[in-house]
């Protein structure tokens, strides 16, 4: 069809399948489809849709104060600093939201530290993949360069974790529930629904987070996976926290990493993000000895992410150096 005839083709007509039909015919046919519920039926359809799902996960606690962190990424230097700091600040329990390996050097060294400190963990997508014997991380970036980096760090981690460690990972729960003071929280890696869902601050609107909390019947939840920390105090009084990661800096030009302290406070909780200065130069040396990409080392030394930035939403990207 020529351009001119294409422009004219739809005067008074609609496309239906591969055919042009008079507009009124299309509209009439369309209006014949779909449900027409009464206002009462609509209300009950909505309340059924948003209603809570039963969750048999046992509740741990109650605690007065817990330290919660995610994304170790084999950074034992930061993990050691965290365990010391959390003990000093009087945490009753320490929880890890998954992703022990990836990015950093010598993943196996993480295991004894977790065990010795009695850290309670859940599986991240890395643990789920390693435990199931997958040979690639399946990150599926659109930039081939990012895929190379993601593959490389997955393969390195896969080859440097013992079978015993992988079995340990496979035995971890996908979620936990804890009570802090009088409030109950769900701990997940990505989101309450999926281990690999990214919950960024600028793309996790309040109504969405309220609906997630309602589904799992909690006063809030804590997640990780994205690498960037945030806290939303919801209008209902619930709290949703992304604890960030301790494995690499938060793309803010600082070499510190962050973890979260959740403390009972009156009827609710207090959420505090704690910066951790750790021996990042020792980490950089260790990464170079293991021949990990210089791009990763640069992140440790500068505090800016250098690879796999495409996961960042517009707002978080705008704050990024690269």
């Amino acid at each position: 069809m020529s351009d001119a005839s294409k422009i004219q083709a739809h005067r008074g007509m609609a496309t239906w399948g591969e055919t042009l039909v008079p507009l009124e015919d299309f509209r009439e046919a369309a209006m014949g489809f779909g449900r027409r519920l009464s206002p009462e039926e609509r209300a009950s359809s909505v309340s059924e849709f948003v209603a809570a799902d039963a969750d048999p996960t046992p509740v741990e606690g109650p605690f007065e104060r817990v330290a919660i962190f995610g994304g170790i990424y084999s950074n034992t230097h930061a993990l050691g600093a965290l365990l010391e700091d959390a003990a000093q600040r009087g945490a009753d329990a320490v929880y890890c939201l998954g992703d022990f390996g990836g990015f950093g050097p010598n993943p196996e060294h993480v295991w004894p530290l977790l065990e010795a400190a009695g850290v309670k963990s859940i599986q991240g997508n890395y643990e789920a993949a390693l435990a199931s014997g997958r040979t690639d991380c399946n990150c599926g970036y659109t930039d081939p360069r990012d895929n190379q980096f993601a593959d490389l760090s997955y393969r390195y981690t896969e080859q440097n974790c013992s079978a015993g460690f992988k079995v340990y990972m496979g035995g971890l729960p996908a979620r936990r529930r804890i009570r802090v003071g009088t409030s109950e929280f769900l701990l997940v890696h990505g989101s309450p629904r999926r281990v690999n869902e990214f919950l960024f601050e600028s793309t996790s609107p309040e109504p969405f987070l309220e609906a997630l909390c309602t589904k799992v019947q909690v006063d809030g939840f804590l997640c990780s996976h994205t690498g960037l920390r945030w806290h939303r105090a919801l209008p209902s009084g619930r709290d949703v926290v992304n604890v960030g990661v301790i494995g690499r800096p938060a793309n803010d030009g600082r070499t510190d990493v962050w973890y979260t302290l959740l403390s009972a406070a009156g009827e609710g909780v207090e959420v505090e993000f704690v910066p951790l200065a750790y021996d990042h130069l020792a980490l950089a040396d260790e990464m170079r000895r293991e021949h990990l990409p210089e791009e990763f080392v640069e992140t440790v030394l500068t505090g800016w992410w250098t690879t796999c930035l495409e996961i960042l939403p517009a707002r978080e990207r705008a704050a990024s150096a690269y």
Partner: protein, 300 residues
């Protein structure tokens, strides 16, 4: 397929119960066909055959959109997408974006032609005012004028690049949508060519979104329609949670539709309100086959 047979066939298959049904697990992504089927271009691969005269779906007003936003808040929608046609032919578009950004992140899909510097300035101001992300997604179908213009029309390559640059100049880093109209568009080499093109105009770490073609509308004329065997049957997959219709709905001036793809298929219409559309949908259309095989999602 004639209009008469497509719907009666769909129903017949449904009755036989071999057509799988996709269940709406959560309503994460809410689409608005705010530009209707009206567009300032007539791309040869447009699966809904948009043009300056296609009024199948009309432009939507903020008044029409508001009640859906109220419902969306109640249902816990995660993100909002505006498409068309061309959304920016709607004068009220910036008002619509501003109001939607109050309840969640917004992405606008555009052909980029109307992204002049003044509009980009206003969009950047809207983005800065919101705590939620605002994204612009611009379509480009070839990494040079020859391959792009063959699909999008004479002279569009240069005009699209100008729009991309105007957006980037005010800090809006656009997502580029590339359809696999040319065989190598989605390969590693093809991807590198697009990335190189973008880095040449000063955009580093760009985001690209590749989409397969749907053999519908103008595209069916270009490359042929679906074959009879391209239909899903029960048993082809255990669950259908990987399909976008398990977590999205599309609103047009004619009501709520199952997804952004089936808006020219009357049986894709599910109701007047979002609350009417929370139950399942039969995957009887051949386009569902493309979705399943290519794991398509229209969101970024």
């Amino acid at each position: 397929m004639t209009p008469g047979t497509s719907t009666s066939e769909a129903k017949a298959v449904d009755v036989q119960n071999s057509t799988p049904r996709v269940h709406l697990g959560s309503l994460d992504t809410l689409w608005f066909q705010v530009g209707g089927t009206l567009c300032n271009l007539t791309c040869t691969h447009c699966f809904i055959s948009c043009s300056p005269t296609n009024h199948t779906h009309e432009l939507m007003t903020l008044e029409q959109i508001r009640p859906y936003l109220d419902e969306a808040v109640e249902l816990g929608v995660k993100e909002y997408y505006f498409t068309g046609g061309e959304p920016f032919i709607k004068r009220e578009m910036e008002e619509i974006i501003r109001e939607t950004l109050r309840v969640g992140p917004v992405t606008v899909l555009t052909n980029g032609l109307l992204l002049d510097p003044a509009r980009c300035d206003r969009l950047a101001a809207l983005a800065a005012d919101s705590e939620y992300s605002f994204d612009v997604r611009i379509s480009l179908d070839g990494y040079n004028a020859e391959t792009n213009d063959a699909i999008r029309g004479e002279g569009t390559f240069d005009r699209i690049l100008a729009g991309i640059k105007n957006a980037a100049a005010v800090g809006i880093s656009p997502v580029l949508t590339v359809t696999e109209v040319h065989e190598d568009n989605g390969t590693d080499d093809g991807r590198r060519r697009f990335l190189r093109l973008l880095s040449e105009i000063g955009i580093d770490h760009p985001r690209l979104k590749f989409l397969p073609v749907f053999k519908l509308g103008a595209e069916a004329e270009r490359t042929g329609a679906y074959e009879g065997w391209e239909t899903l049957e029960c048993g082809a997959a255990d669950t259908w949670d990987h399909l976008q219709c398990s977590s999205c709905r599309m609103v047009t001036d004619l009501g709520v539709w199952v997804c952004p793809i089936l808006v020219n298929e009357p049986s894709g219409r599910m109701g007047d309100h979002l609350a009417d559309t929370l139950d399942g949908f039969p995957l009887s259309h051949p386009a569902c086959w493309t979705c399943h095989v290519h794991e398509v999602t229209c969101r970024t």
